[in-house]
Amino acid sequence: MTAVEILIYACLAIGVVFNSLGVIGLLRFPDVYTRMHATTKATTFGSIFTSLAVIVYGFFMFLSQADSQYLILAIHAFLAAACLAFTNAVSAHAIARAAHRSGIMPTPAVVDRLAEAKL
């Protein structure tokens, strides 16, 4: 087992573990906002790491076999991970704003700065 394979296995393991933590948080947390906090950050981080495993694999195969289709694989996996990161952040913000506007509050809430600011 070479060093590159160990790096790929480590990236895959980190990605799967963080995705699992996100889904466990989705199932176990008591509130809309805490669930969103768990799923958005943990699954975005885990998906970036699984994509990073594909990028490392593509660059390693490109350097060892000099076949340009593996470079295309690495670049396209990077583009997909970038799209995933941007769209996840924006859609989580939209869902949180919609949940606040539809009247759902966190359970121990005492102040509400967003309603006071009248945005």
Partner: protein
């Protein structure tokens, strides 16, 4: 080497099935939207991994198109829940 990729895909598919539980029992509509968003992210991650498993480079392009288009439906549902539509 192939076994590690398909094992990671198997873990992600099991997590998709677990996230469906929140879509069933979610008390409010934003809970269900969050569960759908989680499934969405997991589908994109597993599509990138399956592109390596099948050794077809063009398959990864599906993940890019998918990530950009499912964003539209999530924003549309969020606009409807917030009462801005």
């Amino acid at each position: 080497m192939i076994d590690a990729w398909i094992l990671a895909v198997l873990c992600l598919v099991v997590l998709m099935v677990l996230a469906t539980v929140r879509l069933v029992i979610g008390p409010t509509a934003p809970d269900r939207v969050i569960a759908l968003d989680t499934v969405n992210t997991l589908v994109i991650a597993s599509m990138i991994l399956l592109g390596v498993v099948y050794k077809e480079i063009i398959f990864v392009d599906v993940a890019i198109v998918y990530g950009l288009l499912s964003f539209v439906s999530t924003l549309y549902i969020a606009k409807y829940i917030g009462g801005e539509l």
